[in-house]
């Protein structure tokens, strides 16, 4: 692609990440320092770090790609990703911090005193963590391949190795500095090019986003197809294309209709409506439920709350995170919308996840400005892969080192990090065809159907028992895991079965809550005897100093 700025920008981000990691290494002395950063992190740093860790490949690349492809209906992804922090704030933040739990398995043991429940929670933490890590590494492979033409495995392996080494050597204090830096980098990397893109759109006399004749190529374009698809050409002919096929279009040619993509202006511009097909509405509500309730169950999100000094600080930090994340999510929409004008070929190739990376070059041309901005976006994308993978890896490794290896030492943590990093790296190399945002959405659905009911009921309801919690996680979380496995490995489905497995949250979340409550009521004698003391600890304000 001949942009000489991209590789130096990616190298710079990686070096700064590693550099801050080593700076943190000098500060990390004892195991406790290493794991929880001594809780000496200010709320602003902590909030930026949480935001930096949270904004993943799905947020940075995937959301814009989905908007380009599907239009207004997928705006629920950014809204839900932000709203998840509101649910976390309302139901979980302060009591969880006061509980003193560092991980979800810790919370299970503190609240319900059951080792077996702890083990079950460990299994789910590792599953969700890995499910979430795979698309990050895939995004890295895709981005590096798009901007430099390198083979796909290189980017995935590069991120896996850098992150594993950094987490193993630096621990969490290092990660806090890295994450906070990466939030601001990601925001800048989307915001600055967005301003230039908006100005360019003005200068081009504001071309219509949804022209009456459908999207058209602005310049002569040769498209190399990457995913099998069925195209409907403007003259009505139907053409099957396979990966590797080359199609040439002249400037002004309309973009052919691609099966499964909202090429039609009204489909893209307007929300899906009721009528003969209620699956769209079901999928929308399922997505809302998964993202609103899933955030609180993501392992790397919860660990961060332990670094707040007390419950009130946890609440304020969460509010700042909500504001930071909300500000970020204003931006991907701009890329998705302008992508309809400047990069319509992505609708044909199917590589819509690349829109953020390709748009600055496509809209601003090959001049220095365009190339510098393209490099900035690529750097931001790498920041997204590095930061989210670091956070996930830290929490998965923490759980593996304490609950699977049974050692609390720094050496145990390092070994656990290598194990935790190797598995998703292997998976990412073998599962290249998955859609970044869809896999992330499934991870949210699993978290919402397992840990969300556990946390909400555990914090607010005295009647929860260990058997009830285990049954709810197994049935609800298990159903969501089953849906994930069918979606990823199963045969292609259509109609309702496809909707129910691709967007399972709307049935698995209520199922998990119902089973958890019903089994708890049936086994109410098993409710912990010290529940009164636990509730006091979770909810009493710090001002009382009990």
């Amino acid at each position: 692609m001949g942009n000489g700025f991209v590789v130096p920008a990616i190298v710079a981000v990686t070096l700064v990440t590693v550099g801050i990691g080593f700076y943190g290494l000098r500060l990390a002395r004892t195991t406790s320092d290493f794991l929880v950063a001594s809780r000496a992190i200010s709320p602003t740093w902590n909030a930026a770090a949480i935001g930096g860790e949270y904004l993943s490949a799905a947020s940075f690349l995937g959301v814009a790609g989905l908007i380009l492809k599907y239009g207004v209906d997928v705006l629920w992804y950014p809204v839900g990703f932000a709203a998840g922090y509101l649910a976390l704030l309302l139901f979980v933040a302060a009591p969880l911090r006061r509980s003193g739990a560092f991980t979800l398995p810790d919370f299970c043991e503190l609240r319900l005193g059951s080792r077996r429940l702890r083990t079950l929670a460990t299994v789910f933490v590792i599953f969700i963590g890995w499910l979430y890590l795979v698309p990050q590494l895939q995004g890295a492979g895709l981005t590096l391949a798009t901007v430099t033409g390198s083979p796909y495995p290189l980017g995935a392996l590069l991120v896996a190795v850098v992150v594993t080494a950094n987490v193993a050597l630096g621990g969490m204090r290092a990660i806090t500095f890295v994450q906070a830096f990466q939030y601001w980098l990601k925001l800048t990397a989307l915001a600055v090019p967005a301003i230039f893109l908006a100005l360019q759109w003005q200068a081009d006399a504001r071309p219509a986003v949804t022209p009456p004749d459908g999207p058209a190529f602005r310049t002569a374009t040769t498209v190399v197809v990457e995913h099998r698809a069925t195209l409907t050409l403007p003259d009505g002919r139907i053409q099957e294309v396979r990966p590797g096929d080359e199609l040439s279009f002249a400037a002004g040619d309309p973009v052919p209709e691609v099966s499964g993509v909202a090429t039609d202006a009204a489909d893209w511009l307007l929300p899906s409506t009721a009528g003969d097909d209620d699956r769209g509405l079901f999928a929308t509500y399922s997505l809302i439920l998964a993202t609103f309730l899933g955030t609180m169950g993501l392992p790397h999100v919860l660990v961060r709350f332990y670094t707040n000094p007390d419950g009130a600080a946890a609440r304020r930090t969460t509010l700042v995170v909500l504001a930071l994340v909300g500000a970020f999510y204003l931006l991907p929409t701009i890329y998705g919308v302008l992508g309809r004008i400047y990069t319509p070929q992505l609708l044909v190739t199917g590589q819509t996840d690349a829109v953020v990376v390709l748009l600055p070059g496509a809209a601003l041309g090959d001049g220095t400005t365009g190339r510098l901005l393209a490099a900035l976006v690529a750097a931001g994308a790498f920041a997204a892969f590095l930061s989210t993978s670091s956070g996930l890896l830290t929490s998965v490794a923490g759980v593996i080192s304490t609950d699977v290896l049974g050692r609390g030492s720094v050496r145990g943590f390092r070994l656990a990090t290598v194990i935790a990093g190797a598995v998703p790296a292997v998976l990412a190399l073998n599962l290249a065809g998955l859609d970044v945002s869809q896999v992330v959405g499934l991870a949210f659905a699993v978290a919402a159907s397992s840990f969300c009911p556990l946390l909400v009921l555990g914090i607010w309801w005295r009647g929860l028992t260990d058997l009830g919690a285990a049954a709810g996680i197994l049935v609800g979380g298990g159903a969501a895991v089953g849906a994930v496995l069918v979606t990823v490995f199963g045969p292609p489905l259509s109609g309702w079965p496809a909707t129910l497995t691709a967007q399972p949250a709307a049935w698995t979340v209520p199922l998990a809550f119902t089973v958890m409550v019903a089994v708890s009521v049936a086994t109410r004698r098993r409710a912990p005897a010290d529940i009164g003391a636990t509730m006091l600890r979770l909810h009493a304000p710090e001002a009382l100093r009990l």
């Binding site: 207004v72 705006l75 629920w76 950014p78 809204v79 932000a82 709203a83 922090y85 509101l86 649910a87 704030l89 309302l90 139901f91 302060a94 511009l269 307007l270 929300p271 899906s272 409506t273 009721a274 509405l281 929308t284 509500y285 809302i288 009130a312 609440r315 304020r316 969460t318 509010l319 909500l322 504001a323 909300g326 500000a327 999510y329 204003l330 929409t333 607010w460 009164g532 003391a533 509730m535 006091l536 909810h539 009493a540 304000p541 001002a543 009382l544 009990l546």
Partner: protein
Amino acid sequence: MLAEVSRHEDRTERTRAELAQQTRVGDALVRGLVRAQFALALRLSLVVAIGLGGLPWLFAVAPAVGRVTVLGVNLPWLLLGVASFPFLIAVGWAYVRLAERNEQDFTDLVQRPER
């Protein structure tokens, strides 16, 4: 005057002990706090459930809403892409204020039980 201050401190100490030892009074106090905080969280989630959760249904039953444009942009894009974020932040801000007020009330109750 001095006697009054020490009597007040005695009462505060006694209430703290009741909380810590889970007497019936202490237990009732904690239950009250938990109920107040949970009711607050539920009320604010209801605001979001109606304010945001009602939108897909609204767009589905009244497609005309989706065609309304403001400044050349269709209403659903503005509501979801822009307005939803300040709305979420405003709800969160209100929650932090109200939850802290609940806790302040609880602290006051424990420290000045005679009122």
